[in-house]
């Protein structure tokens, strides 16, 4: 085994350990922050283009002004808000550590 292969394996192991440690520590907080942001973004999308899912809550003028900005997120947002969710789904972060 030459030095280069040994070096690659060693750095691969270090990266794996680093990721494992992150998974055990910071990942939970990062995920919670992401979910909180996603919930706020959902709300924003409902206010702006809610009529797409049957919630007409803003005059179309403002919707049209904002449409170019929100267009890239529409498919993802519709999937997220229209997906059926049950109890375990809605509160999955409560189940960890039990």
């Amino acid at each position: 085994m030459n030095e280069q292969v040994r070096g690659q394996r060693s750095s691969g192991l270090r990266a794996a350990l680093r990721e494992f440690a992150y998974g055990m520590t910071g990942y939970e907080f990062a995920r919670h922050a992401i979910e909180t942001r996603a919930a706020l973004e959902n709300l924003f999308m409902v206010v702006v283009v809610g009529d797409m899912i049957g919630v007409p809550v803003i005059p179309p003028y403002y919707s049209l002004r904002l449409l170019p900005l929100v267009t890239p997120d529409i498919v993802r947002w519709k999937r997220r808000v229209l997906r059926e969710r049950d109890f375990t789904d809605l509160h999955d972060h409560h189940l960890h550590g039990v």
């Binding site: 794996a16 998974g23 919670h32 996603a38 993802r76 519709k78 997220r80 375990t88 189940l95 039990v98």
Partner: protein, 627 residues
């Protein structure tokens, strides 16, 4: 037998089970394919569905399942049947059932658009299954809350060195959440500060106490523990009422002395065998509920999440230091490493009052989480399954984390076996010995034991606050439509707490624990049952999940019947019992029957579904589709 052998057996068995069995199932039955799209890749939304490195997920999944369950179950089982049956079940259970349950639930969710277990049950079996699952989850939570609050209150009431650490843990939890999310402090700095201060407080509690071998610690010389002890003594005018534990597994029952007899203590009457419910026990229970109420009702980032995070670090440190001690002990101090607990105490140990504790089925529910757990499958299907980047990551993440959790059970068994005796006290004494060895004698055994008690309570408490949190959510979802009051988080929390307290104060701890174990294992059997039906529906061989499912189903239902019988014989119909204990026993008998009926209904629906899929042509495995 010594601690080193446990390490060797654990490493060899886990390696063999993973490489020879688990990988084979993954390759030949499930046929995981790295080229198939996972829900995380198909439905990536940056939040719920997000492809994540398998190393990150492994750490995340392990952190989420490593808690108090494997510790409490093992120390109870070693006391009843000896260390040999305990280690056999831990190793056989995780090798053939535990990993299969966790891994299969994740893979089933991956192949079903990332749907949760209850949604899959609704589609594959019947709509009723989903509703029954709610009932199951609620009673599972009620029993675990009762069992954990009971064991912690007993320790807090008898160990005045522990409460200070809990107080600081609460303060650190509040600070940690604020520091990470509001002050945006570095997580490394917050971790060092909060975990360091909590451990320091755990050490300060017993500091100054006089420890003499063979005698109870003298707390009067310790400033903090002495003050707590004086307060406890001042309120303990006499027992409020009494209860019994025929198995002697209750943490309030002291270990036998050198003469083989158990001494009388304020909480235990050796002559009558009764356990005194003291005011200090009641107070400790109430304080634990206040702690849990904060965890259950504040925003999760403000208290519950950081407290759980600190608790995880304390668990990890205890595992690491004790594991080092377990490896070093045979070389540096062979007498510490030698097992003092009997290897085998019989298939049906004699229990006072006519209670039955046959090895089958009771061992298999007493040791729950270290061998197999239904809870893992429940959250694995909604959390981890939606973040897997490749199907081939499911085994190292789901199966690997379960095997890793098993090591926690093995460590707990080592600690109890080298300490002798039983219960949380033996676990703490074992951890104390291992800390002593790992620190090369710098930390004395009594002080290490005190740290062991503190660590035990911290580990369990961080779980309990989350249990109450989930319980209030479940109650709201389950009964909120019938009475809107249950949708109110405070009403739901208080309801759950009152019911748990009724079990703690009126029930017998070991039965409570075994009922919880049975509900947990039944949940695992239900998850395996779903996997079996799913594999049948797609035309694959379901034997690797079906055979363990049948075993777990039969075993846990039998255990529920035995526990109900024990409650009936030893408490409900025993003359001279306090009314509150009798009522508690009947309540637990009712819970047993409810679990039994719920499990039977699900089994019947599953049998019908099985027959439906057996005669129908195999349906195509559901492939994730774009919205």
């Amino acid at each position: 037998m010594s601690s080193l052998w446990i390490v060797v057996i654990g490493v060899v068995v886990i390696y063999a089970a993973y490489t020879l069995y688990a990988r084979r199932i993954d390759r030949t039955v499930i046929a995981s394919d790295p080229n198939k799209s996972t829900p995380a890749r198909m439905y990536m939304d940056g939040a719920d569905f997000m492809p994540t490195s398998r190393f990150v997920l492994y750490g995340y999944h392990f952190k989420s399942i490593a808690a108090a369950g494997p510790i409490v179950g093992v120390i109870t089982a070693a006391n009843l049947w000896g260390w040999l049956p305990s280690i056999l079940w831990l190793m056989i259970g995780v090798s053939f059932i535990g990993w299969a349950s966790d891994y299969s639930a994740i893979m089933m969710a991956v192949r079903n658009d990332g749907n949760s277990l209850s949604a899959i049950a609704h589609r594959l079996i019947s709509p009723r299954t989903r509703r029954i699952l709610f009932v199951f989850i609620f009673f599972y939570l009620l029993l675990i809350a009762g069992a954990f609050v009971g064991i912690m209150a007993a320790i807090l009431a008898s160990r005045p060195d522990v409460p200070f650490g809990i107080l600081v843990l609460a303060i650190m939890g509040l600070f940690g959440g604020y520091a990470i999310y509001r002050m945006r402090m570095s997580i490394i700095g917050v971790t060092i500060l909060t975990v360091g201060l909590t451990i320091a407080a755990m050490a300060l509690g017993p500091l100054g106490a006089t420890f003499e071998t063979g005698k109870a610690p003298n707390w009067s010389t310790a400033p903090i523990a002495g003050a707590v002890n004086s307060f406890n003594t001042s309120i303990n005018a006499g027992p409020l009422w009494t209860t019994v534990d025929p198995t002697n597994a209750d943490p309030r029952i002291p270990a036998p002395g050198a003469d083989g007899k158990r001494p009388t203590t304020p909480a235990y009457n050796a002559a009558s065998g009764e356990i005194n419910i003291l005011p200090s026990f009641l107070l400790a229970s109430l304080l634990l509920l206040i702690f849990s109420y904060i965890g259950a009702n504040t925003a999760i980032w403000r208290f519950a999440q950081p407290v759980n995070y600190i608790g995880f670090w304390i668990t990890a440190i205890v595992i690491l230091v004790s594991a080092v001690g377990a490896v070093l002990a045979p070389f540096t101090n062979a007498s510490v490493a030698a097992f003092k607990v009997d290897a085998f105490k019989g298939f049906a140990p004699t229990i006072a009052g006519g209670a039955l504790q046959p090895l089958w089925p009771m061992l298999f529910v007493t040791i729950a989480c270290g061998a197999i757990s239904g809870w893992h499958a429940l959250f694995g299907s909604v959390g981890t399954a939606r973040q897997l980047e490749y199907e081939t990551d499911a085994l190292p993440v789901g199966g690997g984390a379960m095997f890793s959790e098993n090591t926690l059970g093995l460590l707990s068994l080592t600690a109890v076996a080298i300490a002798g005796g039983a219960g949380a006290g033996a676990f703490a004494a074992g951890v104390g010995n291992l800390i002593n060895v790992a620190s090369f004698g710098a930390i004395g055994v009594p002080f290490g034991t005190a740290l062991g008690f503190g660590a035990f309570v911290v580990i369990v408490l961080t779980v309990v606050q989350l249990v109450f949190r989930v319980m209030r959510v479940t109650l709201g979802e389950w009964l909120g439509d019938r009475w809107v009051g249950f949708k109110n988080q405070h009403v739901a929390s208080v309801t759950g707490m009152v019911l748990s307290m009724a079990l703690v104060l009126s029930g017998t701890w070991v039965y409570l624990w075994q009922l919880f174990g049975a509900s947990n294992q039944l949940l695992a059997a239900l998850s395996l049952l779903l996997v079996t039906v799913w594999l049948r529906s797609v035309g694959k061989n379901p034997a690797y999940a079906g055979i363990p499912m049948v075993f777990m189903y039969v075993t846990t239902m039998a255990a529920t019947v035995v526990t109900a019988y024990n409650l009936f014989v030893t408490i409900a119909t025993r003359p001279g019992q306090a009314l509150i204990s009798v009522l508690g026993a009947w309540a637990m008998v009712a819970v047993s029957i409810l679990l039994l009926v719920a499990a039977a209904l699900i089994a019947w629906d599953a049998w019908q579904a099985w027959n439906r899929y057996r005669t129908a042509p195999p349906e195509e495995a559901r492939v994730p589709t774009a919205a």
